[in-house]
């Protein structure tokens, strides 16, 4: 790069750091939602940069469906310990036990959508006025319409047709009591940007992103990882394959890709040549054309 020029990753980094500092300045009690996936990992990495040499001035929050990859949970706990950051964990199981959420049953049952209940309860209980998420606009078409600072009414709902315009680098986080904001610091990053950045900055990520042997089965064209609480249809059969995760979420709805990529360079190469979107393997988005929009309106991540 020539003098006084920064590359696209540094420019995206600078933009995200600006957003993170705006959050710390404009809100009293923000939290950063942390799933253990790559997007929340780089969001936390950016937060460390934004406040260096001070510690990140807010807690992380994980909504635990109880249906996780073990590695994710270990990674989460190790990260909190390493950087001395508070990790708040809210359990979907608690919402079910308290009768606030009703678990889906049958084949394809997932706790993904009832996470919203646990999330909104958690935000209310802790009086959180801003929850940062690692959502990216390139992930899904409803997300493409999302603001950096996304206003939520007192019920936690999103009104996509009545969003505040965002101009220059002026972000309006003003709100009434009981309302909150969702803020998406990495809105403008694509999947490729995220991987290039992980490579450039050499950021630690869970081993699930690299190739490993796993028992999987095929459903609706996607490979799903097997877990004891997942029901198989008669036609489905478990096989062991070399796979890696392209996204990490609740195990019941996160597809895995057949891959032998065992280092970051290979992953970047694989992403560059892949012809399917990363959420293409997510059963939760396939439920209908507007599945994401509907979940987001209710208060989903």
């Amino acid at each position: 790069m020539k003098k006084n020029n920064i590359n696209h990753l540094r420019e995206l980094e600078s933009e995200s750091i600006f957003i993170l500092r705006e959050v710390a300045s404009q809100f009293e009690n923000p939290v950063m939602l942390f799933s253990g996936g790559k997007d929340s990992i780089i969001m936390f990495h950016l937060a460390r940069k934004a406040f260096y040499p001070a510690k990140v001035p807010f807690a992380l929050m994980h909504i635990d469906t109880g249906h996780n990859f073990e590695e994710t949970i270990k990674f989460r706990d190790d990260l909190a310990k390493k950087y001395g950051v508070e990790m708040i964990v809210k359990y979907v199981q608690d919402s079910i036990d308290e009768g606030k959420a009703v678990e889906e049953s049958g084949v394809g049952a997932s706790r993904n959508s009832i996470q919203t209940i646990t999330l909104l309860d958690g935000l209310e209980e802790l009086k959180v006025d801003c929850a940062m998420g690692g959502g990216r606009r390139d992930e899904e078409k409803a997300r493409a319409k999302e603001r950096f600072f996304s206003h939520r009414d007192e019920f936690g709902q999103w009104d996509p047709k009545n969003q505040r315009p965002e101009l220059w680098n002026l972000f309006n986080g003003k709100k009434k009591p009981g309302e909150h904001f969702r803020v998406f610091p990495i809105s403008n990053w694509t999947e490729m940007d995220v991987w290039q950045y992980i490579l450039m900055e050499n950021i630690d990520i869970p081993s699930l992103y690299f190739t490993h042997k796993r028992k999987v089965f095929k459903r609706d064209g996607s490979w799903l990882a097997h877990a004891p609480y997942m029901q198989l249809k008669d036609s489905e059969e478990l096989v062991e394959m070399d796979v890696r995760c392209r996204t990490i979420g609740d195990i019941t709805c996160t597809g895995v890709t057949l891959s032998k990529a065992d280092k970051l360079e290979d992953i970047v190469e694989e992403i560059a040549t892949t012809r399917v979107t990363e959420r293409g393997g997510r059963a939760d988005d396939k439920r209908s054309e507007a599945a994401m929009e509907d979940r987001k309106k209710e208060g989903y991540f």
Partner: protein
């Protein structure tokens, strides 16, 4: 996306933001679809999904607009409601498209998309030539000081790829170009549907010797769009670690809005007027000797001065304007008209204050580019020149000089909604 992304070439990629404006049926969605498709940024599952939807709706061709219309209401009504952001990359650049709807009532979305853009694509239907909306789009691009405009004369396939038609439209546009404040205007005859001159050079318009749209997007010089002359650093956040290791550390965090700052530079702080020198410029990775717009950094100063969010650090030899009385062009966003003598919250750089509207000087007729001194009711989507008085002085540059220190937004006190965007004259 090609293998250049993997070999370290990605470290030399530049970020470019552009906006697309066009009237309904000018083929804007088709053009975006074409750019995404030809740069291999559309994935198979996305393509399958829109093929399925197009078929279900009984449409003959795959409707690429479905890729960009993300909301249910948009797909149902076949219109674009809100700014949508799209991304694609080539080995040279990563692009962010702010795709803004072209309807008459959506000036606010166009202004929003334009506020951060390096370049604007304005689409003209070759069959219709320059129409009222073309003028409006060009004016907004000029008002928002988008440095580069590319006028794409689309649907050339429907006018037999005729050179005269292209020249006629180009001349029509150039007739009112002197009224605009844009330095760089280029023209490309295209067919978004057939792909002529979008990514690949047209084989049927050999009379056109200029660059294809993609060639312009990839190569146009944008490094000079940033202000590297006037050093401006609005303090966003004060970093105080209060740890043993950094006991007395007091860092001023922010994003540089203009110019270059070096360690050792003499600086002045507004509003206090105190002077000091830059002691260090810190980031997690390394301490820097110098930093420039648009980097986010943390600075420390030689002297212990009381500085907080909303203050501005500048170099002593290059000071911003300072005043409580501001003249600005305002783009109005809200159904409730602008209130003369009304009070609003005002956000300018990192400072929050209040202001009162003292005068509405004139409204801009954006269809004729004439000033209207009679009708002064500023309604949604109107653009006007106003005078405001702020509760305390702000430190600014004219918007033409710096888009970031020269802009502000107005917020309605009762509803907290963003109601207007201002560009300081």
């Amino acid at each position: 996306m090609t293998d250049t992304n993997t070999t370290g070439g990605y470290l030399d990629m530049q970020l470019m933001r552009f906006t697309t404006a066009g009237s309904v049926d000018d083929g804007k969605s088709t053009l975006i679809g074409r750019l995404l498709y030809d740069s291999k940024s559309i994935f198979e599952d996305q393509m399958e999904a829109i093929e399925l939807t197009s078929k279900r709706k009984g449409e003959k061709h795959v409707n690429l607009a479905l890729l960009t219309d993300g909301l249910r209401a948009e797909r149902e009504q076949g219109i674009t409601i809100d700014v949508a952001y799209r991304y694609f990359a080539t080995p040279k650049r990563k692009f962010i498209i702010a795709d803004t709807p072209g309807h008459i009532q959506y000036t606010r979305n166009m202004v929003t998309g334009a506020s951060t853009a390096n370049l604007a694509i304005i689409l003209i239907d070759a069959r219709n030539g320059v129409i009222e909306q073309t003028l409006r789009h060009a004016y907004i691009a000029s008002l928002l000081q988008i440095p580069h405009i590319v006028v794409c004369i689309n649907k050339m396939d429907l006018v037999d790829y005729d050179e005269d038609t292209y020249n006629k439209i180009k001349n029509q546009f150039m007739e009112f170009a002197p009224k605009l404040d844009v330095k760089d205007i280029r023209f490309v005859p295209i067919s978004a549907l057939k792909g002529d001159n979008v990514v690949d050079r047209s084989t049927v318009m050999d009379w056109f010797k200029g660059s294809t749209l993609m060639h312009i997007l990839e190569n146009i010089y944008i490094s000079g769009d940033q202000n590297y002359i006037d050093p401006r650093f609005p303090v966003q956040y004060v970093v105080r670690p209060q740890s043993d290791e950094y006991h007395d550390y007091r860092g001023y965090a922010g994003r540089i809005d203009g110019g270059i700052f070096n360690v050792g530079d003499p600086v002045k702080i507004f509003p206090s007027g105190f002077e000091s020198k830059i002691k260090s410029i810190d980031t997690l990775n390394e301490s820097l000797k110098s930093a420039f717009a648009p980097q986010s950094v943390t600075m420390t100063l030689e002297d212990d001065i009381d500085i907080s969010r909303g203050d501005m650090i500048v170099k002593t030899n290059n000071l911003p304007e300072s005043s409580q009385d501001i003249t600005a062009m305002i783009s109005w966003f809200h159904e409730k008209p602008l209130r003369l003598n009304g009070k609003y919250f005002l956000k300018h750089t990192t400072s929050d204050l209040r202001c009162m509207v003292k005068e509405i000087s004139f409204k801009m007729d954006i269809n004729t580019l004439e000033r209207n001194f009679d009708d002064k009711e500023v309604k949604m989507n109107d653009i006007a020149r106003i005078k405001i008085r702020t509760t305390k002085p702000i430190f600014y540059d004219s918007y033409r000089r710096n888009r970031y220190t020269g802009s502000f937004i107005l917020i309605e006190e009762g509803t907290n909604e963003t109601v207007g965007a201002g560009m300081i004259v």
